[in-house]
């Protein structure tokens, strides 16, 4: 039985108190003395040549302080890309310039052209309307396949084409995979799209730049998942400000889901303009602006094929994918369809040969980057749709086809043909658990019950494997990452025994302030309320790589464990001195140090006080104080996996699909706070179900965003998603991090889309619509009805 606030306890979240009473401090809640406001004049055409920008009238309008254009940033660097992918011919990807304000051309609707800073936001916006633009419209490229035609207009005139890279993985297997298909007993194929999405955290992005001439110091307050990364990228590559003169603060952040990882132009602008104007400069995105300036997610077009032998063993997988990069390369964009996607194509199966081809394409659309799951949902969707289709075509049970090809529990560690080594897992166990919770055995009776009401019921299964807790730095360095992907932590024990923990991870809804305190409390045996977790401010936390890719506990938590172990080691030495014993004889339990086999002991505060008031202290051997820093670089990814089951009811008159139940049986390894883990899965499921049934980011052929607000981009509401049952009792602990934990943040969004679509196809087939082998997401009522009536 875990303690109320130790590892394994569903400790209530301490951060909730401030959020529930209106005392959260989000970036837009920060207002600095003398603050000015910026409005970005953004392109309303997808592709155009800027022949002139006349700001004279606008500059004379009330309250206007200055209007910036690209010319003001001639000395600045562009927005950098953090990952360089090498193509299948050994050449680096094509990497375009990404100016802070559009320089010469506009390349997507929303591309910022000019920035008006004024005394008030409305004055800035009024003046922006008075800027006279002379933009020569150019033909845009929106469709990825058309963008690769030899005569297609080029998004970037100085690049050879719109192809960012043509990536093959594993390139050496290409011919062997083709040969396996030649001789296979069965080949199943599927063409699909992974619909473009907008992350839409409920807090729109905000940036406040501040400059203090007293010490030539810059501060940026920003809605970021990765404040240290922003400091590094913006300081070193864009504005040439060394880290010690640049502080980046990401205070309470209202959700991210990937979209707040990246370094955005608005951050660099506000930081720079604050120095130019000697006044704080604030930008608050509206939701409509967010739709055309936040990085989007997904947007793949794929053909996937599966070769099977006569006994239905998987022999080979081959995929062809087009991945949209948008108009510029966002921070991690090139890595998503490659290393975060191709390496997952083995899924939970022992397929010996895999070849993945990805063509990344520039188009006149908003940049595309990681969104919850990032590459892994795309891989899982293809694979789990295809396995379901294979079962249907072969006339076998989709459960049994999966089981037959699963990597079995006794085969771990398992080297896949796509580079990664899964450390642990038990896929049969999660599948069994899911089917039990879903009462799958009695599903047919429920189908009949629905049928009696004129409805079609379906059950869809999906399995997923995820590689998260990114990542061994030396490995990702070989793969093109331009940063290390460790995490760091400092643990400062104060004289009276309270503990301040500083982490490079960033919490924007994940509850780190609660869970990380549980970990430290458990290790030392003190009350969690005496522990404070600090994050999000580069001036007081050690270097951090931030929070994304389900890495905070596995990597950031491991750094905290490492630093806490250093604290315990030193504290034991102090205790040994105080107790006149050898350090190796000191035991720490429930916050008390005792000499093994004796009743001699000193409590935690006796040791911490000695560390800071070292009157009776081994000063010749040990420094005073009790503060330690650790960096943790993982030796492998962690591999959460799970079985998902979705039960839906479809109204054949309207095509509308209702989620009845959704069962998630996950293996996340050890769990620190079950309540929070369950909440993470719920949120992921809602986003995955949203992708499957509702959400769709759509451009017309001229590059106008048709789904540019909540009026057309359908966000799941409380009555759209329901019936979640979440189980995490199947545990195979991670073998290579100290807590034995895997990531849980993205799983729900990875495993749920194929489960929903498989359920819809199941319902349709049971009702005799056997001609429908696939419907592209989102499965809107109109699309489902059209498929049924085609």
């Amino acid at each position: 039985m875990p303690k109320d606030d130790g590892i394994g306890a569903s400790t209530k979240r301490r951060e909730d108190v401030r959020f529930l009473t209106g005392n959260g401090r989000y970036t837009d809640d920060i207002n600095l003395r003398g603050q000015s406001y910026v409005h970005f004049l953004r392109s309303d055409v997808a592709h155009g040549r800027i022949n002139g920008i006349d700001t004279a009238t606008a500059a004379a309008m009330p309250g206007v302080l200055k209007i910036f254009t690209a010319a003001d940033f001639a000395a600045a660097g562009g927005i950098p890309c953090g990952w360089q992918v090498t193509d299948r011919f050994g050449k680096p990807m094509q990497e375009p310039k990404h100016p802070i304000l559009a320089d010469g051309k506009v390349r997507h609707v929303g591309d910022p052209i000019a920035a008006v800073v004024a005394e008030t936001y409305e004055q800035a916006r009024d003046a922006a309307e008075a800027i006279e633009l002379d933009i020569e419209e150019l033909e845009p490229v929106i469709d990825m396949v058309a963008a690769l035609a030899p005569d297609a207009p080029k998004v970037h005139d100085d690049l050879a084409s719109n192809l960012c890279y043509d990536w093959g993985f594993v390139e050496e297997n290409r011919e062997a995979v083709n040969a396996a298909f030649e001789s296979a007993a069965h080949v199943v194929s599927l063409e699909l799209t992974n619909n473009r999405l907008v992350a839409n955290p409920m807090e729109p992005r905000v940036a406040v730049g501040d400059y203090d001439p007293w010490g030539d110091n810059h501060t940026l307050y920003t809605t970021s998942q990765t404040p240290h990364v922003i400091r590094l990228l913006m300081g070193a590559f864009v504005l040439n400000i060394p880290e010690h003169k640049l502080r980046v603060v990401a205070p309470d952040v209202g959700g991210g889901f990937g979209s707040k990882i990246y370094h955005y132009a608005e951050e660099a602008f506000c930081t720079y303009a604050a120095k130019v104007l000697k006044r704080p400069v604030k930008w608050t995105s509206s939701r409509s602006e967010a739709f055309i300036s936040d990085a989007h997610g997904r947007d793949h077009k794929t053909k996937i094929e599966l070769a099977l032998d006569g006994d239905h063993n998987f022999l080979a997988i081959r995929t062809d994918t087009y991945a949209n990069m948008g108009a510029y390369l966002s921070t991690f964009a090139p890595s998503i369809p490659t290393w975060l996607h191709g390496t997952l194509m083995a899924g939970n199966y022992k397929t010996p040969l895999i070849y993945v081809n990805v063509k990344a394409v520039f188009t006149n659309t908003v940049p595309v980057d990681a969104y919850r799951g990032a590459g892994r949902p795309e891989a899982t969707f293809q694979l789990e749709r295809l396995v379901d289709k294979a079962a249907r075509e072969l006339g076998v049970d989709p459960v049994e086809l999966r089981r037959k090809n699963f990597i079995k529990a006794d085969q771990f560690p398992y080297q896949t043909p796509v580079a990664v080594v899964y450390d642990t897992g038990n896929y049969d166990a999660t599948l069994d658990k899911m089917l039990e919770l879903a009462d799958y055995a009695n599903f047919d009776a429920r189908v009949a019950e629905s049928k009696a009401r004129g409805k079609l019921r379906g059950f869809g299964i999906a399995h997923y494997i995820e590689a998260c807790g990114i990542a061994p730095s030396n490995l990702v360095g070989q793969l093109g990452a331009r940063a290390g992907l460790y995490e760091s932590a400092s643990v400062r024990v104060n004289a009276t025994g309270s503990i301040s923990v500083y982490t490079g991870s960033h919490s924007h809804g994940q509850g780190h302030e609660t869970t990380f305190a549980q970990v430290v409390a458990d290790m030392i045996g003190v009350d969690a309320t005496s522990i404070e977790i600090h994050h999000g401010d580069t001036s007081n936390t050690p270097m951090g790589m931030g929070t994304y890719g389900s890495r905070s506990l596995a990597v950031g938590g491991s750094a905290i464990v490492k630093a806490t172990n250093k604290i315990i080691d030193k504290a034991k030495k102090i205790a040994a001195h105080l107790l006149e014993a050898a350090p190796e004889d000191i035991e720490l339990k429930d916050g008390k140090f005792s000499v093994a086999g004796t009743d001699k002991s000193v409590d935690w505060t006796g040791v911490t006080l000695a560390a800071y008031v070292p009157h009776n202290y081994p000063l010749e051997d040990l420094e005073p104080g009790l503060e330690e820093t650790a960096f943790y670089d993982p030796s492998n990814f962690t591999y959460p996996s799970g079985a998902y089951g979705c039960e839906i009811e479809l109204d054949p008159e309207t095509g509308k699909i209702d989620i009845l139940r959704f069962i998630a049986a996950d293996d996340f390894g050890n769990i620190v706070n079950p309540m929070i883990v369950e909440g993470q899965v719920h949120g992921g499921l809602a986003q995955g179900i949203g992708q499957a049934l509702m959400e769709n980011c759509v451009y017309d052929d001229q590059g106008q965003l048709l789904s540019g607000s909540f009026m057309d981009y359908a966000m799941p509401r409380a009555d759209d998603v329901r019936g979640f049952t979440v189980d995490h009792s199947c545990i195979t602990p991670c073998t290579h991090n100290p807590l034995g934990v895997k990531g849980c943040g993205e799983a729900g969004a990875i495993g749920s889309p194929p489960a929903v679509v498989n359920a819809a196809i199941d319902a349709l087939h049971r009702a005799g619509h056997s001609h429908i082998s696939h419907i592209d997401m989102p499965l809107t009522p109109s699309r489902v009805w059209a498929a049924m009536n085609s």
């Binding site: 008159e653 909540f710 981009y713 109109s782």
Partner: protein, 262 residues
Amino acid sequence: MHNFEFVKPSTLADAVAALGDGEAQPLSGGQTLIPSMKARLNAPGLLVSLTGIAELKGVCREGDMLVIGAATTHATVAADAAADFPGLAALAGQIGDHAVRNRGTVGGSLANNNPSACYPAAALGTGATIVTNAREIAADDYFQGMFTTALEEGEIITSIRFPIPQKAAYAKFLQPAPRFALTVVVVAQYASGVRVAVTGASEGGVFRWAEAEAALSAKFDADAIAGLSHSSDGMISDLHGTPEYRAHLVRVMTQRAVRAAL
């Protein structure tokens, strides 16, 4: 949004006088107007709030009519029309969400005539009379295409007179993003016959479906229109539905409304 002068008269006469300014627009609940002003699609020089005028508010029965003040909120209609005209109360209670219903008004909705708003179908489906400060307009003459009505510049809706039907119901199919109508059908049965009004579906805004009215007037039963299909010509095509799909929904939702009414 652009700035504007704001006045809040307490009598209809003062409101009408204030709206004589060519830059002026009336503000009722503002649930559509304010977002459009934020997007700078609408920039009145003067906003005349109608929310302080007591004579524009309230639900009252006058014989076989339910008379609703134009500045009455959807929430009030949902509550106060329930006894006399439950179908209308139900429709009002499904508009937007609870917070929108506490601000949005029936008059504002009819003056705006959004093609996916619910009230136009209620007014047309019941053959209501739109009463303004200047005249009375029959619903059949009032709606003139999406966002277009018979209202003149400066003319204010003061109340709507809904003939109370023998039976009525509506069926709504949601556009999932804003949860407005993808297709909404109001069916109302009177001694003189059945009226069917459809909103959300057509590029021309709210319309009556004559074939269904004839069939349902002959026999008020969902099966009576099972064989009918509405043409997809002129139906809205967007991310959320094809013209064919909307035309199909017109029949399905009409049948559901009839079943709900019975």
